[in-house]
């Protein structure tokens, strides 16, 4: 397995997390603190451009230039390990590092633009960061600490039926760096296992997309939502209580649109949707409002999570 750090980490903020589910960030910090992960957040860091990039608003040049700027911020803080809460940020930044290292022309063009605009200090040097050694997702960090998780667990969530949804941009873009399987992704199942719970494992459509497809949700809703419906029907068939995610895009697609898809499918869906950090934080005793950020969720968390029982030590 690749080398995964637990210090000198810049926790890379995600626009979707901040706007839609701030509890994901609060939960990540909560869990990182519990596990002794050394991280910081920078106010200077900007959005990775992902949503705009995949909707053809930002081209690769702008995206890589923004990447170079964010990498400089990380380096200046002596936190060269960028850790993402969002699978889109993860794939976008990994690609930007690869391009900046390997495409000399692109790198020079961006560096010239920085120079011309008085931003010479942002210049990126070849191989300053490495895609595999410096760009991570929160799940990588949690997986690395998987042996330390069981000691920190406060609540027993093992009575719930749990399914996982692994985001495409974590599993299917940079295969070589994906931890815990690509064809049968199970990194989330493993982390949930460390919390003392067993997931349902494989289910129909487990590997399928959430359906978001960035602008597809708006420009091609029929296709987008039929993909989501396939998956929702499948987890409904398995009586799933909690679906665990690693990407806020998927999270939105399921949580915000669950009732609409229920109308469309004429079926009642009851699963709640938690990010893996929220799930681990919940199991570690994080406050539903202050840490998990339950109020931001459309499918009420307390519709499923009631009367938490403490683990027997």
């Amino acid at each position: 397995m690749k080398e995964i750090p637990d210090k000198n980490i810049l926790l890379f903020r995600s626009c979707l997390v901040s706007v839609e589910y701030p509890g994901v960030e609060a939960s990540t910090k909560f869990v990182f603190d519990k596990l002794g992960v050394d991280y910081a957040i920078s106010e200077k860091q900007t959005c990775c451009t992902g949503l705009g990039h995949y909707s053809d608003v930002f081209d690769q040049l702008s995206t890589s230039a923004i990447g170079a700027r964010n990498f400089r911020i990380a380096k200046d803080l002596d936190r060269p390990n960028l850790v993402m809460m969002c699978a889109t940020c993860y794939a976008i930044n990994k690609k930007s590092v690869k391009l900046l290292n390997n495409k000399d022309e692109l790198r020079e063009k961006i560096n010239n633009l920085f120079d011309e605009n008085g931003l010479g200090h942002l210049k990126y040097e070849k191989d300053e960061l490495k895609p595999t050694e410096n760009i991570f997702h929160v799940v990588d960090i949690l997986y690395n600490k998987i042996d330390e998780i069981p000691d920190k667990i406060k609540y027993d969530l093992s009575d719930y039926t749990i399914a996982t949804h692994h985001g495409c941009h974590y599993c299917k873009v940079h295969y070589e760096d994906t931890v815990g399987g690509v064809r049968d992704p199970h990194i989330l199942d493993d982390i949930i296992g460390a919390c003392g719970c067993e997931t349902i494992g494989w289910y129909d459509h487990k590997r399928a997309t959430c359906g978001t497809g960035f602008r597809q949700r708006y420009s091609n809703p029929e296709l987008s939502f039929s993909a989501t419906a396939d998956k929702m029907n499948a987890i409904c068939d398995e009586d799933v209580d909690i679906m665990v995610h690693l990407c806020p895009n998927c999270h939105i697609q399921f949580d915000r649109y669950q009732h609409l898809i229920a109308d469309r499918e004429k079926r009642k869906f009851r699963a709640i949707h938690l990010n893996i950090a929220q799930f681990v934080a919940l199991a570690m005793g994080g406050d539903l409002d202050k840490v998990i950020g339950a109020k931001a969720h459309t499918v009420p968390i307390d519709s499923v999570i009631k009367d938490l029982k403490e683990v027997e030590k």
Partner: protein
């Protein structure tokens, strides 16, 4: 003193090919040697007498034949100079590299004089050396006892060669024994595989030249002067094959039942068992991992054949050559969880279907699902793990799966016409006669859908196979109650292990690599080791047998012909050598090893490239034949004939590059007279100091060409890069040195490159 040596020069007119362009009278007048003569056709049989008489009459010590290319006639003239040592003769190539590439008589004549002079200087540095004859032992080891190994062994044994088959499992027979039915495309009918295999097996068993070692593995190998010393470890069988009469009473009383791997775990067998009805040796075997050691079999056996205390045995096997026939295994279905192989009993592989439909299989040939019913619809999924660019997949086509699927579909259709069979394919690959069988299958009402299914899921009692029909561009869900996966062929563990033990090259996919895919399809990169069957790449039974017999023929060539080796190879001064092992790691041809605490150089694989010389800190290695001195002498021989204002470019080429250069002449293309080609045994032998020396003594440019397929290519390219930096520091223009790829068929490219380089040197000279 070498300068006092008496050199004779023999000029060949080549029936006008040379004499029409080159003024040989002028040549004769310009050279100062003991003897110089001119003849019409020196390679004809009278040439032998002419040369021999002159050697005796003039007491010649060395001979230069100025004629065609050494590629054409070096062997002839090495023979004609007898009783002189063959290596005291050198050829000046004034045909392919002079009269055939230049029109201007005056300049061609001057160049011929230069080339002959270079040969004269070079041959003075030659010493008498003897070619090395290697006769390897005739015995052969065939590793792997499947259809390929069996055929290779049988072919050799019938030619009188002693063969040992080393088979890892308890029986020979391999995959073919369990395949059920086979078909030939011409007959359009399926027939019993075992019935075809059995006669081969019997013939092999009865052949006195063949010894079969089962439960055996090669665990170590070393090679010395063409002999392989193999350490073979035989695991105990716990049953004495001499005594066992295969009555089966032991298995009757054995109470341990385990899945039967020969039936792809679809049935059970006992801990004491016979792999299959026709297995050889005809004896039971105990699976000690599962044996409860109750002793029932021991007490039941009337023949007292059970030997529970047997221990693994190691033995030494000495052979001259090895045929690797270690075969394949099938793709691990855990890597494709989406097809549910590990979750559902009725998702099976083609291999398992072969067992199920085989009359000696778990259901005695009946096509039954796990619940005992006949399936109503079977969906076959092609290219599982093959032609697959996703992680863990293989990019190659496994070649046999299309026809295997067709065969099994037909078998199902013959017996169960009501069962629907649908094959989901990527492309149907049925070249040649197989296309007729494909057509036959279509007529048999087997259905085809183009698309690679994404998932197999169970809904209720049935499976849903989800796929895109890529012809209609539609997403479809197919209901089925049995799914059969056509899994990729990949190198077996045995293939991977033997590659490491024997240190033979593999492809990026882990198959044994042939030394040339076009023209040396059964040789490996190690001399004396050959490969056949699916250890080399995916192939069917017919191809495996063809390759096996080809490998046997290659071994016979080797056994009968022996090997004559050019003597210009590395030699170790054992006094100086500290056995540091640096040379072993440096040698790209794997010719060095440590044996009996000394460095041993295998004359069969050393090319004399000299890489080891440079890296030996003790300076304990030399290469026979004064190679260095000859290169310097040749350079001097060329440059000493340089005229005022003449441009002289030295081109260093090895055998491949030299052949490409000859082709320029053969095809009557041209390049400038400034080009002087010097043949070296390895381009790596041209040292930085040679280049420097040439530049400082009048050479205007240095051109070094190397075939990119040569194992030393990267090394030479890197070295030339360094040389350029180094000569720049010394005040020479690095542009005067160039490095280029050469290919034999791409001689037009070489002619152009030589011309371009001459133009560049001209510019540099003018700028100066």
């Amino acid at each position: 003193m070498r300068d006092d040596l008496k050199v004779g020069v023999f000029l060949c007119e080549c029936g006008g090919n040379i004499a029409d362009v080159i003024d040989l009278d002028e040549v004769r007048d310009s050279l100062d040697v003991e003897f110089i003569g001119q003849f019409e056709n020196l390679c004809s049989l009278n040439g032998r007498k002419i040369i021999r008489d002159a050697i005796f009459d003039h007491n010649l010590d060395r001979v230069v034949v100025a004629a065609c290319s050494p590629i054409s006639h070096e062997k002839t003239f090495q023979d004609y100079v007898k009783p002189l040592n063959p290596y005291l003769m050198d050829m000046a190539n004034i045909r392919e590299q002079c009269s055939w590439v230049h029109d201007d008589s005056e300049r061609a004549t001057h160049k011929a004089i230069t080339l002959i002079n270079a040969s004269i200087e070079k041959v003075k540095q030659s010493d008498a050396v003897d070619p090395i004859y290697c006769q390897t032992p005739d015995e052969v080891a065939v590793i792997g006892g499947g259809i390929a190994g069996m055929n290779a062994a049988l072919s050799l044994a019938k030619q009188g060669t002693k063969v040992t088959i080393i088979e890892q499992s308890p029986s020979i027979g391999g995959h073919m024994a369990k395949i059920g039915k086979v078909f030939s495309p011409v007959k359009i009918a399926e027939e019993c595989g075992m019935c075809l295999l059995n006669p081969i097996l019997n013939e092999l068993v009865w052949n006195e030249n063949i010894e079969v070692l089962t439960n055996a593995k090669v665990i170590e190998s070393e090679r010395r002067a063409g002999t392989y010393n193999l350490i073979v470890e035989q695991s105990p069988r716990y049953v004495d094959t001499e005594k066992c009469i295969a009555c089966g009473k032991c298995a009757e009383v054995c109470e341990v039942e385990v899945p039967n791997d020969w039936n792809d775990n679809l049935s059970m067998r006992k801990a004491i068992y016979r792999p299959f009805g026709q297995s050889y040796p005809e004896s039971y075997v105990i699976d000690m991992d599962n044996c409860s050691k109750c002793g029932d079999c021991f007490r039941t056996c009337n023949m007292r054949a059970i030997k529970l205390r047997q221990k693994p045995e190691k033995s030494l096997l000495q052979v001259g050559s090895i045929i690797v026939a270690t075969g394949h295994k099938l793709f691990d279905m855990e890597k494709r969880p989406e097809y549910g192989y590990t979750r559902y009993a009725d998702v099976i592989t083609q291999s398992e279907l072969g067992r199920i439909t085989g009359v000696n299989g778990p259901t005695k040939g009946k096509l039954l699902k796990s619940n005992g019913e006949v399936p109503k619809r079977v969906v076959m999924i092609q290219c599982v793990g093959s032609r697959d660019e996703k992680p863990d997949g293989h990019r190659y086509c496994s070649k046999i799966c299309c026809t295997v699927a067709l065969k099994n579909a037909n078998i199902i259709k013959h017996k169960y016409p009501d069962t629907d069979v649908l094959i989901c394919y990527t492309d149907v690959r049925t070249p040649g006669m197989f296309e007729k069988y494909y057509k036959h299958t279509q007529e048999n009402e087997v259905r085809f859908l183009r698309g690679r299914p994404g998932e197999v899921v169970k809904k209720g009692d049935n499976f849903i196979v989800r796929t895109e029909d890529t012809i209609k561009g539609e997403f479809v869900e197919i209901e089925a109650d049995m799914v059969v996966l056509s899994t990729a062929m990949e190198p077996s563990m045995g293939t991977r292990e033997i590659a490491e033990t024997l240190n033979i090259g593999t492809t990026e996919d882990g198959f044994i690599k042939e030394s040339h895919p076009k023209i040396k399809p059964v040789a490996t990169d190690v001399q004396g080791i050959y490969v056949c069957g699916t250890a080399q790449d995916p192939k069917d039974i017919t191809d495996s047998i063809m390759q096996a017999t080809a490998a046997a023929a290659k071994v016979s060539e080797y056994n009968y012909g022996g090997v004559e080796i050019e003597p210009f190879i590395a030699e170790i001064d054992k006094e100086k050598c500290t056995v540091c092992g640096e040379c072993i790691s440096r040698c790209k041809y794997k010719s060095m090893s440590i044996q009996d605490d000394e460095i041993y150089i295998d004359p069969m694989s050393c090319t004399g490239c000299g890489k080891c010389l440079v890296d030996c800190k003790q300076r304990a290695i030399t290469v026979n034949g004064n190679v260095d001195e000859k290169i310097v002498a040749t350079i001097n021989g060329v440059l000493s004939k340089k005229r005022e204002g003449e441009r002289m470019i030295l081109v260093f080429l090895d055998n491949i590059g030299y052949t490409a250069a000859d082709n320029i002449g053969v095809n009557r293309l041209s390049y400038p007279e400034s080009i002087h080609i010097i043949k070296v045994i390895s381009v790596n032998r041209v040292r930085p100091r040679h280049i420097r020396y040439a530049l400082e003594n009048g050479a205007d440019g240095i051109f070094i060409g190397e075939f990119p397929g040569d194992l030393m290519y990267d090394e030479v390219e890197r070295k030339i890069g360094m040389v350029k930096e180094c000569i720049a520091e010394m005040g020479h223009n690095p542009e005067r040195v160039t490095f280029s790829k050469v290919y034999i068929p791409y001689f037009t490219g070489l002619a152009r490159k030589l011309t371009d380089f001459d133009n560049k040197i001209l510019e540099l000279n003018e700028a100066k």
